[in-house]
C-alpha cells in the first residue's frame, strides 16, 4: 500500500513539477569576465560553473571525480601526461561538434603566458610548453613536469570551441549567457544542445533559464527571498540562518562542515617592527600552543555560530573527506595546561598580569577586518579568554585594505584573525600557504630559506606530495604536514563553519553539498515545482 502511495506521490510530482521555469538567485557583484579561462571572482565563477562544459567534474556530494565530456582518463609518464577518451555526439551551444581539436585549443589557450590565466597557474609544473597529441576521440596532454592530482584541475577548465568566433558564447554546459545588464542581472538560457539526458531520455537541463540578480546588499537579498522573489541563497550567515529557521524551518539547510575556517596567527616576521621580546614570544611554540589552549572554541561555535560550526582542528576541514587527517586530536580548552606551557618559557603571573622572564607584561593587539560581526565577536571572546591567563589583548578593527597592507606589506601588526576559504580540495592549491618561500605563508612570508627546522620539513613534505604519483602516497605526506602544523600551531585554527543555505520548497532535486556551489551544483537537474508538493516529497 505504502509503495503504491509513494508511486502516486512521485507520479503527481512529475505531473505538477514545472518542467522549465526560471530559477532566480543573487550574485554579489557584476561578473568581471565571461572568459572562463580568466575567472577570479565569485560572480564569474558562478557563470563559468553554469555554462562551462568540463572533461571531468568533481561530484560535490561524493567529492569523487565523474566523467563528463571525457568518458575515461588515464595518467601516464609518472604524472606528466593525461589521456582523455572523449564522449561521442557532444555539440557546442551553436550546434558544432565537440572534438579533440577543441581540447587541444583550450589547453594551449589556457597555458599561453600572455593570457595570465589564474586557472593556468595550477597547471604549471615546470619550465617549457605543454604538448597535445590528438588521435580520433583520444587526446593526450603532456606537461613539462609531473603534476600531482592533475585530473582534478580539469573540473575548473571549461572547454572552448576552436572554431567559434564568439568563444565565450559557445559553450558545452547546461546554460548559455543570453543577456547581461550591467549592475542589474545576467540571464542564462537553456542550452538546447546540452549533451546530458535524464533517466527517461529527456534532454537536460530541466530549467528554461536562470536569472542572476546582481545584488550586493544581503538584507535585500534575504527580504526578496522571504517574499518568494528568489529561489535560493547559496551561503548565509548563521544569524540569518537561525532567524529563517525559526520562521520556516523547511527553507533552510545545514549541510555540515564547509571548507571555510577561521584562524588567528602571530606575526613571526624577523623584519617586523616589533620589540625583540615580543618577537621571541611569537616564535615560541609553547606561547602559541598556550594561547590555543586558553581559547574556548566550543563557546565560539555556540555563541557566535549558534551551533552551526565546529571547533577547528587543523588546516583541512573534515568536509574535505579524503585529505582531512582524522588522527588529529581536537584542541582542548585547558587554561592550566596553557599556564604550564607558559611557565616552561619563563612566563609568570604577577598580580593577575602575565609577565615574561624580563618582566614585560604580555599584551598584544589583535587585528581583524571591520564590519565582520562574527570576527569582531570572536576577537572579543578571545580577549576575555586570554584575560584569564593574564594576557591583555587590544582589539582593532581595520578596513580590509589597511589590514591586507599590514599583513602582507609593512608587517606592522602583532596578531591577526581572519578566515580561510579553500575552493579546491587538493592540497596542491595550498602550496602558496605552506611553502616557506610563499607569499601567503602568513606568519613569516617569502622566506629565502626556511626559518625553522619544522618549516624546512613542511617544505620537503609539500614538494614530495606534489610529485608523488599515487593519491595514497600524497595523502601520507600531507597528513605529516597536518601533524606538524597541529604541533607547531603557526595558525591557531578556531572554528570550521558549516555550509548553510536556504532554498525555496519549489526547488526540487536540490541536494545541498558542503562545498561550492552548495545548492545549484546539480543545476542541470533542478526543477521548479509546486511548493506543497515539494514539501510532501521531502
Amino acid at each position: 500500500m505504502r509503495r503504491v502511495l509513494g508511486f502516486l506521490i512521485l507520479s503527481a510530482a512529475s505531473l505538477f513539477a514545472q518542467w522549465g521555469g526560471e530559477l532566480r538567485f543573487c550574485v554579489r557583484s557584476d561578473p568581471k569576465t565571461f572568459n572562463p579561462l580568466m575567472v577570479e571572482d565569485e560572480a564569474s565563477e558562478t557563470i563559468r560553473y553554469l555554462t562551462g562544459g568540463v572533461l571531468i567534474r568533481v561530484n560535490r556530494l561524493t567529492q569523487e571525480l565523474e566523467p563528463e565530456l571525457a568518458t575515461s582518463w588515464k595518467i601516464s609518464q609518472h604524472g606528466k601526461a593525461i589521456t582523455f577518451k572523449l564522449r561521442h555526439g557532444v555539440s557546442f551551444s551553436d550546434g558544432t561538434p565537440f572534438s579533440a581539436e577543441d581540447v587541444a585549443y583550450t589547453m594551449h589557450a589556457l597555458m599561453d603566458p600572455s593570457l595570465h590565466s589564474p586557472t593556468a597557474d595550477a597547471f604549471r609544473s615546470g619550465s617549457g610548453d605543454i604538448q597535445t597529441l590528438a588521435s580520433g576521440d583520444q587526446i593526450t596532454i603532456v606537461f613539462p613536469a609531473p603534476l600531482a592530482g592533475i585530473e582534478r584541475l580539469f573540473d575548473q577548465t571549461p572547454m572552448l570551441s576552436a572554431r567559434a568566433v564568439k568563444k565565450e558564447a559557445t559553450v558545452l554546459g547546461p546554460f548559455v549567457v543570453a543577456k547581461y545588464t550591467p549592475g542589474t542581472e545576467v540571464l542564462l538560457a537553456r542550452n538546447i544542445h546540452y549533451w546530458k539526458t535524464d533517466a527517461s531520455g529527456r534532454r537536460l537541463p530541466h530549467l528554461d533559464a536562470i536569472r542572476l540578480d546582481i545584488q550586493q546588499n544581503r538584507d535585500i537579498e534575504l527580504a526578496r527571498f522571504t517574499r518568494g522573489e528568489l529561489h535560493l541563497i547559496n551561503n548565509i550567515d548563521p544569524e540569518v540562518f537561525n532567524r529563517l529557521a525559526k520562521q520556516a524551518p523547511s527553507l533552510v539547510n545545514d549541510a555540515g562542515p564547509s571548507l571555510e575556517s577561521e584562524m588567528m596567527w602571530f606575526n613571526q616576521n624577523p623584519n617586523a617592527q616589533l620589540p625583540e621580546y615580543e618577537k621571541a614570544w611569537f616564535r615560541s611554540k609553547n606561547f602559541r600552543r598556550a594561547i590555543s589552549a586558553a581559547i574556548k572554541r566550543t563557546d565560539m561555535c555556540r555563541v557566535i555560530y549558534f551551533g552551526h560550526a565546529a571547533p577547528a582542528v587543523g588546516p583541512i576541514s573534515p568536509a574535505n573527506r579524503f585529505w582531512f587527517q582524522a588522527q588529529l586530536k581536537a584542541h582542548a580548552y585547558d587554561p592550566q595546561q596553557a599556564m604550564e606551557r607558559l611557565r616552561q618559557d619563563g612566563f609568570h603571573l604577577d598580580a593577575g598580569v602575565l609577565r615574561d622572564r624580563e618582566g614585560h607584561a604580555v599584551e598584544f593587539s589583535l587585528i581583524t577586518n571591520a564590519g565582520n560581526k562574527a570576527r569582531e565577536r570572536m576577537s572579543a571572546m578571545i580577549q576575555q579568554d586570554l584575560q584569564t591567563i593574564g594576557i591583555k589583548v587590544n582589539l582593532v578593527s581595520l578596513d580590509f585594505r589597511s589590514l591586507i597592507e599590514r599583513i602582507s606589506q609593512n608587517f606592522r601588526y602583532e596578531a591577526c584573525l581572519l578566515g580561510l576559504t579553500n575552493y579546491d580540495l587538493d592540497p596542491n592549491s595550498q602550496m602558496n600557504v605552506w611553502l616557506s618561500s610563499a607569499s601567503n605563508h602568513q606568519w613569516n612570508p617569502s622566506q629565502k630559506k626556511p626559518a625553522t627546522a619544522w618549516e624546512a620539513q613542511v617544505d620537503k613534505l609539500m614538494e614530495a606530495q606534489a610529485s608523488a604519483v599515487t593519491r595514497e602516497k600524497r595523502k601520507g605526506y600531507f597528513d605529516k604536514v597536518q601533524d606538524i602544523v597541529w604541533e607547531e600551531a603557526p595558525f591557531i585554527y578556531l572554528v570550521t563553519k558549516n555550509s548553510l543555505s536556504a532554498f525555496s520548497p519549489k526547488l526540487q532535486n536540490a541536494e545541498p553539498a558542503m562545498i561550492r556551489p552548495q545548492v545549484y551544483w546539480n543545476a542541470d537537474r533542478l526543477v521548479l515545482g509546486p511548493a506543497q508538493l515539494a514539501k510532501d516529497l521531502r
Binding site: R243, A380, L395, E405
Partner: protein, 268 residues
C-alpha cells in the same frame, strides 16, 4: 518652562551621578561575558537582558553613558570653540578674510570624512588602549566638526556687524577687540550655545555611525554608539525591546540638554 528646566536639570544630574558611580552601581563589569546567557531577556539578574555575547546590557549602558556624556560634550566644545574662532572672526571682519574662510568651510564640508577616519584608524598605533582610542575618536570628531557650526556663527556675526546695535557702538567710538568682546560676543552667545547643544547628539550619533563600520569606540568598551549597533537588526528589537534603552536615554538626555538652555538660546 522654568518647571520643565528644573526637571531637565534633575534628570541630567541623576543620569550623570549614576553613570559616574557606574563602578559601584553596575551589577557586572561591562566586558564580562555570561556565555550561558547570550541574548537573554530582561530578568532579576540582567535588568535589560544581555547582548549577543552575554554581556549585561544595564552595566554596559551605565558605562557607555558615562563615556558618551563626558566625551561628546567635550568634542562639541572643541568644535564650537573652533567654529567661534574661525566663523565668528570671519563674520565680524568681512571682506577677503570672510571670503577665504567661507571657501575653506565649503571645502571642509565637501570632504568625505569617513575616509579620513579610515586613514586615521589605519595610521594609529595598534596597541592603543580602548580608552585612548575613544578619546582620539572624539577628539578627531571635534577637530573636524567645526565647519558646519562655523557657517552658522559666521552668519550670526555678519548680521550683528551690520546691526543698529553695533553701528551705535561704533558711533560711540567702540572699536576692535572691545567691540567684539563687549557687543558682538554676548549677542552671539545664543547662537553659539545652540550650536554647542546641537553638536552633542551629532557627535554621539557620529560615533554610532563609526561604530557601525567597526571604527568607533574599541571593544569591549561600551558607548551609546556601539550600544546602538544592536538596533541594526530589527529582529532583535522586536524580540527584546530593551535594546532600545540607549536610544531612549539618548533622546531623554538630548531633550534635557535642550531644556537646560535659557529661552534666548533656545530660540536661537
Amino acid at each position: 518652562m522654568k518647571h520643565a528646566r528644573k526637571v531637565a536639570i534633575g534628570i541630567v544630574a541623576v543620569v550623570f551621578t549614576v553613570c559616574l558611580l557606574a563602578n559601584f552601581v553596575a551589577p557586572a563589569p561591562y566586558a564580562m561575558q555570561f556565555r550561558d546567557f547570550i541574548s537573554a531577556p530582561a530578568s532579576r539578574h540582567f535588568w535589560l537582558g544581555t547582548d549577543e555575547l552575554g554581556r549585561d546590557r544595564w552595566s554596559r549602558l551605565l558605562y557607555g553613558t558615562r563615556i558618551s556624556l563626558l566625551l561628546a560634550p567635550a568634542a562639541a566644545l572643541l568644535s564650537t570653540l573652533m567654529a567661534v574662532l574661525i566663523g565668528g572672526v570671519a563674520g565680524y571682519m568681512g571682506g577677503w578674510w570672510d571670503r577665504i574662510v567661507l571657501r575653506v568651510i565649503d571645502i571642509f564640508l565637501s570632504i568625505p570624512w569617513l575616509f579620513l577616519f579610515l586613514i586615521v584608524r589605519a595610521v594609529l598605533p595598534l596597541n592603543t588602549s580602548p580608552l585612548e582610542s575613544v578619546i582620539i575618536t572624539f577628539m578627531i570628531m571635534g577637530l573636524l566638526g567645526w565647519a558646519s557650526p562655523a557657517r552658522v556663527i559666521r552668519a550670526g556675526a555678519q548680521s550683528l556687524r551690520n546691526s543698529d546695535l553695533v553701528l551705535h557702538a561704533r558711533a560711540c567710538g567702540c572699536r576692535g577687540p572691545r567691540l567684539l568682546l563687549m557687543h558682538i560676543a554676548p549677542n552671539l552667545k545664543p547662537v553659539v550655545f545652540a550650536q554647542f547643544w546641537i553638536s552633542i547628539p551629532t557627535f554621539i550619533l557620529g560615533e554610532a555611525s563609526l561604530g557601525l563600520i567597526g571604527l568607533g569606540v574599541a571593544e569591549p568598551l561600551p558607548s551609546w554608539g556601539n550600544l546602538l549597533r544592536e538596533l541594526v537588526n530589527p529582529q532583535v528589537v522586536t524580540g527584546s525591546p530593551y535594546v532600545l534603552a540607549p536610544l531612549v536615554l539618548l533622546a531623554v538626555v538630548v531633550s534635557c540638554f535642550q531644556l537646560l538652555l535659557p529661552e534666548k538660546e533656545f530660540a536661537a
